[in-house]
Symmetry: C2
Subunit: 335 residues, 2 copies
């Protein structure tokens, strides 16, 4: 299978404030080194002041438009691809359209959400819409504010996350060469849905249903993760998952230039690398200064690998991750 | 354009509790008739007890599977298509998978969100994924709990909404006849994003950022609507929008058996009908006993029209609506 399409450009934007792991150690009363040792994350970005998901998303999109040599807004669709939303209503992509100054443009906006796999799902959706002739060029924006939902009681989960946004512009490939989506595969196992969740924020624990009375640091509104369990599921499924994905694409690990894994945590990355047996130069780790940026994490890998010229036109890459749900998802892409 | 696909079956589920407009009049101290006169809604359903979006969604899906003669779970994808979420994380479709007892199935789940246009956007996405050969059969579930976010200070907006869920199963059309999506069009104008919103529930007004201190009935966590403005935008754009949609599909109002509008409110429906000049038998109104069920509203029209045999195989229908964003969207479908 091939969906002919082209990744035209990427852009990334981060909050102004860098937060070092030793600062979190100090703030939450742990010995220096605790936060970093749990996650492998040395520093990450947290929003402050007026920074929002839509603003960061728009900033990353402006960078992508510039790099593509396009004027801002020269797309047929804006796809929001975040695991978190800025508001309950409307969808974040509409708020990003506004921040881009495209508020009178009429460019359609909708969001795709598969938590940490939202980018891959949105990329797959964009490729299908291009293939169906519905659109020619799509802006995909993953913009995540993880910091507001961190539960510092759980040092392991707390140490992982960072805020940031990544934009990717995908367009129809007009040339006859083979570029685009070679294969996509995803599996969801909701038996583990409570291993990774934020219960609040939706209609189930709406403040009205709670009598408008939230205890301070109410854990129901913070991210809860059963790390070891997620780890175990991912470890158990990964090899078989990659086999299925490879057979769908007709290409496997031997054919790819770079494997970009979701940057869940350093220990998860180490385990994944060992399981699939890739050398360091083919297995991309980049969480040290960013943390896990939820759905923005996978496209950040794409962005950084392109910027660092680890990959380029014609190369095949594999992007694979796990997400709350729990889902496992991946794509093989020819650049 | 035609994306060959088939709407195989639909299902709907509602909360146990019916809420009459006169009950709301009494409860909120208005003369009897106030709530109904504002919206044209005589009764709607509100959740109570343990009812949730995922449970209602699963109930509607079970009905659709049964009507299709399929065993529960005989699909390649579960697409959540709601304007509201049950939890911040994970996506609602994963929670629906769980309620369906498919928690070990691996069926991929993701959500598509364009507020009230989420169903149409998800249907369009499903058709594109079918066209690309990625999936053969998709369960789309719109499940909405509007009642928790109603601001009863604004009688006009408060009178409109109801809770409920609708499922639609779409599959590849194996027969050589022309069935499926004939045309889809959507426009988003975020200059009006603050005309229809719930500011809270996402990362921007997370309880942590508010010091975990929410005033009772905090309007930021309730639905806010500038009715007259939305009305004006819809009225101004509708005729031109339908022209564009018709030209994309190659079929227009004269070719369709039934026009299914989003049931925003009775006055909006009256205006829309006048603007586009359709007789009562071609313009479907069904909000009287359901209200506006957000994204579940448009597929409810499809479900009711099929149940009432107003439409059937081979008929062309047009589904059009507005949503927060603000977006206008529509599809022309051959059944």
């Amino acid at each position: 299978m091939l969906i002919n399409s082209e990744i035209l450009a990427t852009g990334a934007a981060f909050p102004e404030k860098t937060v070092y792991s030793y600062e979190l150690d100090e703030k939450y009363g742990h010995p220096v080194g605790t936060f970093e040792s749990k996650s492998g994350v040395q520093s990450r970005y947290y929003i402050s002041g007026e920074e929002t998901a839509a603003k960061l998303g728009a900033k990353s999109a402006v960078q992508a438009f510039k790099k593509a040599g396009l004027k801002i807004g020269d797309v047929d669709l804006i796809l929001g691809a975040s695991g978190t939303a800025e508001q309950a209503i409307p969808c974040t992509s509409a708020l990003i359209q506004k921040e881009l100054g495209l508020d009178k443009s009429g460019i359609p906006c909708f969001d795709v959400n598969a938590t940490c796999l939202s980018f891959l799902t949105a990329y797959n959706t964009a490729c299908a819409l291009i293939h169906a002739g519905q659109v020619s060029r799509v802006l995909i924006v993953s913009s995540e504010i993880a910091s507001v939902g961190i539960n510092y009681e759980n040092v392991e989960a707390a140490s992982l996350f960072g805020d940031g946004a990544v934009s990717v512009i995908v367009q129809k490939n007009e040339v006859s060469d083979e570029r685009g989506l070679l294969g996509f595969h995803m599996e969801t196992y909701s038996e583990f849905s409570d291993c990774c969740e934020i219960q609040g924020g939706g209609t189930k624990l709406h403040p009205r249903l709670l009598g408008w009375d939230l205890p301070k640091d109410d854990p129901r509104f913070l991210f809860k993760m059963d790390g070891p369990k997620v780890f175990k599921i991912a470890a158990k499924s990964m090899s078989n998952f990659i086999d299925v994905l490879s057979s769908k694409a007709g290409f496997g690990l031997d054919d790819i230039k770079l494997f970009i894994p979701h940057q869940a945590s350093s220990s998860a990355l180490t385990l994944m690398q060992r399981r699939i047996g890739l050398d360091d130069d083919k297995f991309f780790k980049y969480n040290k200064n960013y943390g896990n940026m939820i759905a923005a994490s996978l496209p950040l890998g794409l962005h950084l690998a392109l910027e660092q010229k680890l990959i380029g036109r014609g190369d095949k890459i594999m992007m694979v991750g796990t997400s709350a749900g729990i889902s496992i998802g991946g794509a093989i892409i020819q650049l």
